[in-house]
Symmetry: D2
Subunit: 135 residues, 4 copies
């Protein structure tokens, strides 16, 4: 399981004083992108190879509110990889380890030059398979 920690930013908190529910969707993405960087084939490099990741579905369960002043930890774990799509299980926890948000996101693979959906290219598939085996 990959994890990434960072402080909540002030502007991410809403008038209730809590992190806006849309921001966790962004936290998830930050963690996934850092994970891919860490695997040695980051999103910027993928983009240079014309690989982009359209989001197909997303579900979020909100359990507890993170606040400005909190340092949050976001986790990413591959749940399923079919070659055409990848589903990740992701969570946000606060500094006390309390689960704030639990979610799942499914991404496809698209050729950014043609705009066509495609199967996961080999180089990237090999990385994902390797990560799956480590989990």
């Amino acid at each position: 399981m990959y994890s990434y920690s960072f402080p909540v930013r002030y502007y991410e908190a809403d008038p209730m004083g809590i992190v806006h529910h849309s921001e966790y969707v962004r936290y998830f993405e930050c963690c996934r992108n850092n994970w891919l960087d860490d695997c040695g084939y980051g999103v910027a490099e993928c983009a240079a190879d014309n690989i982009v990741f359209p989001v197909a579905k997303l579900d979020m369960r909100y359990k507890y509110s993170a606040r400005f002043g909190d340092v949050v930890t976001v986790t990413t774990e591959i749940e399923e990889f079919t070659g055409a799509r990848i589903t990740m299980h992701q969570q946000v926890l606060n500094a006390e380890g309390k689960l704030c948000v639990d979610g799942h996101i499914t991404l496809g693979f698209m050729n950014s030059k043609t705009g066509m959906v495609m199967r996961c290219p080999e180089k990237l598939a090999a990385i994902i398979e390797k990560e799956l085996n480590k989990q």
Copy 2:
């Protein structure tokens, strides 16, 4: 069914040129808030009466990308109201009427003074019931 249309903002589009997937979560909220305003008991008034709406769960299905230059229409329909929670069915369509995102969001009711979850206060429940009957 309540609907609300507005142009995509430039900063909402990402390097792929499409609206970032987190922005639709915000579009949903804008539409819900306008709907409540329209019902005569807006979020700002609710907040003044110490009623806030913690998000419990959210799911999104991404079908087609909206882009900068598009005018989108967001819809809101009450799916279920139990007194303790309300679930809305929401969609984002582009100007051609093509479905971009289909989603569901479940909100609770909280007393912002005590921070305690509560049942939907009577005045608001009456409005929701009236809307449900109109649908």
Copy 3:
């Protein structure tokens, strides 16, 4: 003077309950983009013609806070156009007409294909000159 009105969005307000100072920068952009649309040569069309608008400088004076629940009006006026750069005077007012933010932004012109700064292309320059004469 071009003006554009819209309601403050919930997520744009911060824990102080006021619109975050970075959001006015976005409000300015929304108004400028709508103005250009209105002139018949919108940002999306400009982008299709490889014209983009890098921001060179920006200054903001914050006078009064807009809040969630407010409908704001944003204004745009051309202050100076040299052919190489355009400076706009922009303001945000609340529903009572109270000045919230007063600012100036200077944009250049760039060929998005070559990444090179350029003089304002003729078609666009003609539109800007026409607007300047109307002011």
Copy 4:
């Protein structure tokens, strides 16, 4: 001079592929807030003591674009402290040390309970004076 480094987030980049000009305003705030945390009297603690920091003015000079994939460094230096207001000089640099944005921001001090502007409270003023002496 205080500095804070972090990777550009994907959603902060716009269709030009560069960090949206409004995001640097947020980067500045993140760095200021971390600096105050580091001084031992963070924004969350200040808020608990009813001290908030309304922005009075802001100017930004955009020199070079940061991109998704970049790690940026944001700096904060006190430029002037009058007791009623504080002005900070801030910059954003990319990983090669190239200056992306150069800016200045002036903040006031407000009692969040009364909503009244006030002079900088003593505890905070002592911290700022100490930092000024270190610079």
